[in-house]
Every structure is written in structure tokens, then in C-alpha cells.
């Protein structure tokens, strides 16, 4: 018979970090399914690869660091990182892209900074950026939506492409990427950016087949699916409302102003919202608590800054999409934002 000694408070809200992570993973499912519908099996294969690698890496590093392995391995954070990374990769990227990416994300971006809760950068986005600057060719080899593809792509073929670079029938990635009209595929954002440098107007770019009605085929639905997942998270109170709101708001304002100034050289707000990783970033990346700002005011600034940066980088930067870079830049400024948005303590001026 013995007495328990514990410090108050003794009761506790029964919520757990791991449950939170699991919820976010569930919320990505509509997005993954949409991706599967439009782009085939590629991303699901990459997600699985990334999860396996991430868990293996996490296990190895945790063992090396002599931490409690079982507890942290399945807290969901590594899996979430892997899922987000897998979603962002081009569907037909070779297998080692997702492996290197998740090793980097887990071992270097997360664990070397001290593991969960201590990483200053979002591991998935840092991994993505690392891949993008290291392997630009593979990371920009976007595949056209299935309906525009000249070669049908089933699961086996996808697997074969990812692991061997060729389909069963011997088509290379390059050939796969060439869609019906013989042009190599790029994402709508990329197409618009390229066309702008060619001196075409936005309206002319919009006639491009991959862009479809105003926004890209597949991309629009994909972003819609992530929006649904995000709303689910908001509904579950798993993520704060202000971050996505201020991010989308800021992107809206920037792109709208630019559009008003020069409609020929600037895409519409809708185009910005429903292309690239916009919704994924708004609801799944920027809301990562570890690398974001903490106070409400801070989150508003954080989201707005991200929106602004996304617009600036999309407009002037070297890479077509900007969410990952914007997120990393915001991650860097998060401590500073926190520093200057501290709430006024009760009883203090």
C-alpha cells in the first residue's frame, strides 16, 4: 500500500498528441484519393515508400539517441511527415526520391534538432525543398492527368516506372509525360510561368489544354479535396482557424491586386488558390504547430506572410510553385513573430 504523489492539476483533458497527428493523417485521405483518381497510383506508392523509410529512419535515430523508441515511433508525427512528403512528390518520380526525402526529413530536419517538438522547420517541406534543389529534373517531371495521357498507366506500370524508369512496355518517363498533343507536361503553374516568359498573356495561357477551365485539370479537384480535409480538421478543432484563413486571405489580396493592375501578366486568385500545393499548404503544412507561430496574433501574421511569400515567389521566383519555400521562410521567422506577438499578460500594461 502506498500513496501517490503527483503535482496538480490531477485531472486532465483526455487528448493526446498522437491522436491529433492521427486525425491530421485521416484528413489527408480525400486528397490522396483524388490524387489517385486523377494521377494514378504514383503518389500512393510514394506515400507508402516514404512511410516505411520514415519509420525505419525514426527507429534508427531514436535507437542511436537512446530514446524510448516505441513511444515516439508511433506518435504519428513521422507518418504524417511521410504522408505529406509523399503527396507533394511528382507521381512518377523514381523511388529513391521519396526515400532520400524522408530520410532527410526525419533524420536531419527532425531528429537532429531534437525530435518531435523541437524542429524549427516543417520536416516534410524541408525534405521537399531539399529534393527540389538537389534533383530538379526528377522533381519537376510532372505527369499529365490520366485523361490526357497518351499511354494508359495502371498500378503495375506505375510501380515499374517508379522503380525502373520504364513501363512494362518500355515507355520512359519522358514519353509518358508527353501528352496527346505532343507537348511535354508541366503543371499549370509551370505552364503559365513559361508562357509569360514567352510573352503570352494569361488569357492565352488559359487556353492550354492542361489548364482546362481556368484551373488545371485534376489540380482543382485535388485542392478542393484538401480543402475538405482541412474543413474536417477545423471542425474537429485539430488546427487553428486563423492560419489557413489569413494565408488564403493574404494570397487572395496579393493576387487580386496584381490581377487588377495587370490582368494579362497575372493569374486570377482562383487560379492561385486551386493550383499547386495551396490548400495542402494552408491546412496541413502551415498549421503544423511545431514549426509555426503560437499566439493567435502570431498565427495571423504567420499565415499572411506565407500567403504574401507564395505570391511573390510564384510571380518572381525561380520555381513555379512556392508553398514549400514560403513555409520554410515563415518557419524561420516564426520565433521572431512569436517574440513580437506575445500577449499582454493580465495585469501588465
Amino acid at each position: 500500500m502506498a500513496y501517490w504523489i503527483a503535482s496538480s492539476p490531477h485531472n486532465h483533458l483526455q487528448s493526446k498528441t498522437s491522436a491529433l497527428m492521427r486525425l491530421v493523417i485521416y484528413a489527408t485521405i480525400p486528397g490522396i484519393l483524388t490524387q489517385w483518381y486523377f494521377f494514378g497510383w504514383g503518389n500512393i506508392i510514394h506515400i507508402s515508400l516514404a512511410i516505411a523509410t520514415a519509420l525505419l529512419t525514426e527507429f534508427t535515430v531514436l535507437s542511436l539517441r537512446e530514446k524510448k523508441v516505441s513511444e515516439q515511433l508511433f506518435d504519428g508525427s513521422a507518418i504524417l511527415t511521410a504522408v505529406l512528403l509523399g503527396i507533394s512528390l511528382p507521381a512518377l518520380a523514381p523511388w529513391w526520391i521519396s526515400v532520400i526525402g524522408s530520410i532527410f526529413a526525419i533524420a536531419i530536419v527532425k531528429q537532429l534538432y531534437g525530435g518531435i517538438g523541437l524542429n524549427p522547420f516543417n520536416p516534410a517541406m524541408a525534405g521537399y525543398v531539399m529534393l527540389l534543389i538537389s534533383f530538379p529534373v526528377q522533381m519537376t517531371s510532372w505527369q499529365p492527368p490520366l485523361e490526357l495521357m497518351s499511354v494508359p498507366l495502371d498500378f503495375i506500370n506505375t510501380l515499374s516506372v517508379i522503380f525502373t524508369n520504364f513501363t512494362y512496355d518500355g515507355y520512359s518517363v519522358e514519353q509518358l509525360r508527353t501528352h496527346i498533343d505532343g507537348h511535354t507536361m508541366a503543371t499549370p503553374l509551370d505552364t503559365v510561368k513559361t508562357n509569360l516568359t514567352l510573352g503570352l498573356t494569361i488569357t492565352e495561357s488559359m487556353n492550354n489544354i492542361v489548364i482546362g477551365e481556368y484551373v488545371g485539370i485534376g489540380w482543382q479537384s485535388l485542392n478542393l479535396a484538401f480543402l475538405i480535409g482541412g474543413v474536417f480538421l477545423l471542425f474537429k478543432k485539430a488546427i487553428p482557424l486563423v492560419t489557413p484563413l489569413s494565408f488564403l486571405g493574404s494570397l487572395f489580396v496579393c493576387s487580386f491586386i496584381a490581377f487588377l493592375i495587370s490582368p494579362d501578366s497575372n493569374a486570377s486568385t482562383l487560379f492561385h488558390w486551386f493550383n499547386g500545393a495551396c490548400m495542402l499548404g494552408a491546412f496541413f503544412i502551415l498549421t503544423d504547430p511545431v514549426s509555426g507561430a503560437t499566439s493567435i496574433k502570431g498565427r495571423i501574421i504567420f499565415g499572411a506572410l506565407a500567403g504574401f511569400l507564395v505570391f511573390i515567389i510564384r510571380k518572381f521566383g525561380g520555381y513555379p510553385d512556392a508553398v514549400a519555400f514560403a513555409v520554410l521562410l515563415c518557419n524561420m521567422s516564426a520565433p521572431l513573430i512569436d517574440q513580437y506577438t506575445r500577449p499582454r499578460t493580465y495585469g501588465h500594461k
Binding site: 500500500m1 502506498a2 500513496y3 501517490w4 504523489i5 503527483a6 503535482s7
Partner: protein, 192 residues
């Protein structure tokens, strides 16, 4: 020719800045060593001499002049960390030659053994022992820094260092130190 001009120009510049620096060194001369003062403020002021210097101030001055920062045993790791922060150097573990036990203690004179030799009074760096020849001495607990310098000189070994009692006022919220009563005599280990 251009080379000669270059040399001349550099020479003149050197002349000018040398003069400027010479002037500045006299004009802005700093008396004393502010670093030593800052260091002194970090030291625990036990004046125990364990660092090998007669008092905290001399050690502070020595540290300012490059002495190792890890010699203050009563200050322990906290003090070393503070000094390291101030000096911008790396934290080192406490010098291995020193005891690491730095729980606060005070001297206690076992009064029936005291012969009134005043040796401890002379040893005390902060005048925390009162008494006179052939009179029993006593320690003013509030003033005692726990330096234990009085222990060695005592010819009759009547001074002990005793840890300061823990009360509800100085309790540090160490839940693990709470004695848990075992109601059942046969029960095993204390569970906390």
C-alpha cells in the same frame, strides 16, 4: 611612380590612424577591470578559497585574466554556466579536484567542546563567528557562507558543517523527496 604614391598614401594613412589610436587609448582609458566586477557579482561570495585564490574577488580577477572558469566549487555548475555565458566561452565541468557536493551548509560549533581559542574567529572570512578568548564561540547562521574555513583551524574539532534544514519556506518542489509513509509494514519499496 604609382607605386611610390601608393606607398606614400598608405604611410600617411598609417600615420594618421596610429595617432588617432594613440590618442584614443589615452582618452578612453578604462580604470579597473569591469569584467572582474561582473564576474565577482556572479560568484557566491563564500570566500572559501577553494579556487586557490584568497576570496571571490581575486578569483574573479584571475578569471578575467584567463584563469579556468571551473574552479568555484560552492557555486557549482550554475555559476560555471553563468561565467561561461559572460565570458563567451564553453561550459566546462567543475574542476575534478573539487568536491561536487555543494548543498548549502552552515558551520555549527559543538559548544561543550569549544575551548575558546578564537582560531575559527580569525579564520572566518565574513566575521560570522562571535566569541572571545576562553569564551564559547557561536556561529551567526544568517551570516555564515558555509565556506568551512573554520573547520580546519579548530584544535578540538568542534566545528561541523551541517546542511541547512529544509522547511516549507525553502522547499524546492521536489516531489520525489517527499517521504511516503508505508502503512503496511510488509509492503515493498516506497512508491512515489
Amino acid at each position: 611612380m604609382s607605386i611610390i604614391i601608393a606607398i606614400l598614401v598608405i604611410g600617411v594613412i598609417g600615420l594618421f590612424f596610429g595617432a588617432l589610436l594613440g590618442f584614443a587609448s589615452i582618452k578612453f582609458k578604462v580604470e579597473g577591470d569591469p569584467l572582474a566586477e561582473q564576474l565577482d557579482a556572479l560568484l557566491p561570495q563564500t570566500q572559501c578559497g577553494q579556487c586557490g585564490y584568497p576570496g571571490c574577488k581575486p578569483y574573479a580577477e584571475a578569471v578575467a585574466n584567463g584563469e579556468a572558469i571551473n574552479k568555484c566549487a560552492p557555486g557549482g555548475d550554475d555559476t560555471i554556466k553563468k561565467i561561461a555565458d559572460l565570458m563567451g566561452v564553453e561550459v566546462q565541468p567543475l574542476d575534478g579536484n573539487h568536491e561536487t557536493d555543494n548543498t548549502p551548509k552552515v558551520a555549527f560549533i559543538i559548544e561543550e567542546d569549544c575551548i575558546g581559542c578564537t582560531k575559527c574567529i580569525q579564520a572566518c572570512p565574513v566575521d560570522a563567528i562571535i566569541g572571545a578568548t576562553k569564551q564559547m564561540h557561536t556561529v551567526i547562521i544568517d551570516e555564515c557562507t558555509g565556506c568551512d574555513l573554520c573547520v580546519a583551524p579548530c584544535p578540538v574539532d568542534c566545528i561541523e558543517m551541517r546542511p541547512i534544514n529544509q522547511t516549507t519556506r525553502n522547499w524546492q518542489w521536489d516531489l520525489n523527496s517527499i517521504p511516503v509513509v508505508q502503512l503496511d509494514a510488509t509492503s515493498q519499496e516506497k512508491e512515489v
